[in-house]
C-alpha cells in the first residue's frame, strides 16, 4: 500500500537515533536531498501521508482528521491534492545561506521555520466527502556527519515544528 511504502522510505531516511525520545507519539526527522523549498514541500507531503502506528493503519493526516480505523477499513481516506511553499523565499534563502555558513564552521545550521500549505480531499471511493487545508511549519538542518566509512558527508534533514488543520469543510451534496 502506498502509505506503507512511504513509511518504509521514511524509516530509511530516518537517522539511526541511538536513543529513543519522548517521541513515542512524535515523528523522527526526515532526511532530505537538500533544503531547497521543493524538497521541503515534498517532505511535508510524505510526512502527512505516513502511517504512524501500524495498529491503526491511519496516516498522520487521517489521524488528525479523526478518521477512525473502521472508517479507513471501509474505504475512507485522506488524499493530498496540492502542496505549496508559503513563506517569503528571500528570507528563507538568507536563513539557509547562514545555515551553510554555520555548517562550514563545524556547527549545525538550522533555518528559520518555513510555512507550507497542503490541501486535501477526504474521499470514499469516487466520492469526495470533505476538503480542507493544513498549515505546516518546518525547519531544515544542515550538518556534517560521518558515514559508515568515517568520512564527512553533508546531510540535510527536515523537522516539522507544527502541523495544523486550518480549514476542513464538508462537500455540498
Amino acid at each position: 500500500m502506498k502509505n506503507q511504502i512511504l513509511m518504509t522510505t521514511l524509516v530509511l531516511f530516518t537517522a539511526v537515533a541511538g536513543y529513543a525520545n519522548e517521541g513515542e507519539q512524535r515523528l523522527q526527522s526526515i532526511g532530505t536531498i537538500s533544503c531547497d523549498t521543493k524538497d521541503l514541500v515534498r517532505a511535508v507531503k510524505i510526512t502527512a501521508d505516513t502511517v504512524f502506528l501500524t495498529e491503526t493503519g491511519l496516516t498522520v493526516l487521517e489521524e488528525k482528521l479523526e478518521i477512525t480505523k473502521d472508517q479507513k477499513s471501509m474505504g475512507q481516506q485522506a488524499d493530498i491534492t496540492n502542496a505549496e511553499f508559503l513563506s517569503t523565499k528571500k528570507d528563507y534563502t538568507a536563513s539557509l545561506n547562514k545555515a551553510y555558513k554555520i555548517n562550514q564552521k563545524g556547527g549545525v545550521g538550522i533555518t528559520i521555520p518555513a510555512s507550507i500549505k497542503l490541501t486535501y480531499n477526504v474521499v470514499k471511493g469516487d466520492t469526495v466527502l470533505s476538503k480542507g487545508e493544513v498549515l505546516s511549519t518546518v525547519t531544515c538542518r544542515v550538518e556534517t556527519k560521518k558515514n559508515v566509512q568515517g568520512d564527512d558527508t553533508l546531510k540535510h534533514s527536515m523537522q516539522v515544528t507544527s502541523f495544523e488543520i486550518t480549514k476542513d469543510f464538508e462537500e455540498k451534496k
Binding site: M7, V11, S95, G106, I110
Partner: protein, 514 residues
Amino acid sequence: MRTKKIIMGLAIISVTHQSFAFSIGGTQIGGPKPKTPTEQQPAKKATTLVSIKPSLPIVNKLGKNPFNTDIAAKIESALGKFTQAPSLNPTVAYYETFPARNILPLTDVKMIDRSDDSDSVVLTDYVSIPGQSANGSALGLRMALVPEESRVRASQQMAENGLIKTGDLIVSTRPLFANSLQYLALQLLSTHISMAVVVNENGRKLVYNLDMPMDDKMMGGKNLGFGKSVMDASHFTEDNPNLMLHILRPRMESEAQRQNIQKWLEKALVKAREKKIYPSKLSFNTDYNSPMYREVNGKADLSFVADTARLLLGQSLTANDHLQQFCSEFAWVLLSLKDCNPDATSSDFKKGKIPACVSEFFKPMQMFGSAFSSGTAKDEDFYGMTDGIPMLINQTGANPQLSMQLIDFALPGKDKEAKGLSVGHKGVAALMAPLIKQTNGYFKLTLTRDAKQIDGARAMLNPNTPRNYSPTGFVVHAGMPDSVNGVKVAQKKLDYVVTIKYVPKAKLKDLQSK
C-alpha cells in the same frame, strides 16, 4: 463549515500562539495585560484555584527491612507486575534501578513515621538484586509512592519537604517495556527528561515540570493550567501507562550556582508560558542522535548555549537563526549556565560573544567508555552512554556466570512486542539490531578484563557520531560509583535521589498508616 484546531503529536503546537500573563510568588511577571477569559488559552484551567492546605511531611518507611516480604508484596501490589523473569525480582528490571550504595542521603528532608492522611507520600525501598559479594552493592530504588488523585498536594509535599529541588532532572522511565525491545534496555528504559522548578506561589511551594518540547502534552497541567504542570500533563497521566519518574540531582559546587539555576529555570518557565520562543525560535529536535553540540578542532562550540540564554533574557539570537534541542539537550544547556548569574551577565550575552561563565555541565558522552579496560576514574570518558548495563552489574559484585545471565536477561538476542511504541521507534530498533547483537558480546567481553581486546572492540563500536547527552547519559551519570579503586570518579555529575510512582490512594493506606 467546520473548523478544527488540533494540537498534533508531532512536536507540534499551534502557530497562532497566545501569550498570557501569569505570576510566580504572587508578582505578575512578563506578558501583555491580562486578557479576558474567552481570549485566554487555556482560560478555564489557567484561572482554576486550588485551596491551600497545610503541607504534609513525607512518610518514611526507608530502611524498615527492605527484604520484608510483606512490604515487598504491598509495593508490588501497588506497582503491578511488569516483567516476567522468574529468577529476578519481577516488578522492575534491574537495569532500571540504581546501586543502593550511591543513593543520595536525604539529610534535609522532613519525614515522619506514619500518617493517617491519605494524601501522604510514602518513601520506601525497593530491591531489585541484592549485593552479590562482600563488596557488592544491591541494586534497587528509593520509591516515593504518591497518591495519584492528589498530584497538586503531592507536588507541594515534595517541594516543601525538600524531596525535589529546582534543577533536579525528572526522568520518564517505562517499566512496561522491560523485556521488549532490546534497544530500550540499552537506554535503561528511560525515554524523556523534564526539569523540576520549585516556585513560591500564593504562600506555598510547588514543583512544576519544565520541558522541551514546551507543548501542551508536556506542560499543560490538568489542575493548574499550561506551564503549571505538577507532573499532571498528559505525558505523565495518560500517554505512558505505568510511568515512573527517576529524580536525579545535579551536583552543584556553591549556593551561587543553585541560585543561578533557580533564576534561569524560572525565566524558562516564564518563556514557556508566554509561548513566544517555542517553536518559532527554539523548537524540539526529534533526532536524538544529532545534538547541536559539536567540537571544532577539539574545542566545544557553545554558541547555541549562549543563544539559548539570550532567548531567556529576551534578547535576539546572534550565532544562529533558529535553535533545536531535544529534551535532555535543553536540560544540559540550562545546567551549563550554572555559573552565569542572569542579572549580572545579561550585558555580556548582549555583546554577541560567548561569556566565560558558559561551560559544559558535563562533557557530552561517547557510546562506550574506558571503565572496563584501560581507563582510570580520572578519565572524562570513563563511562559511555551505553555502558549502563555492565556498569550496574559490575557494582553488584556478581560473579562472571551471573553477570552473563544478567546481560542475556537484558539483551536476549530477540525483541518482543512493545505495544504503543511508534512505527518510527520500531524501525530504529530494527536498524539497530546488528549493533545490539554486538553489544551483548562486547558486554561479555568486558567481564574478561582483557584491556587490549576491550579497547579494540570499543574503538570499533563507538560509532562516528557526535558526543551526546541523551536521557540515558544522565541516568548513567547518576548510576556511576562515587569511586573506583579508591579514586573518585571525576566524570560523575549527578546523584540519584528517588523514583516517583503515582498509585491509587486505596493501595497506599497500609503503607501510610502502619
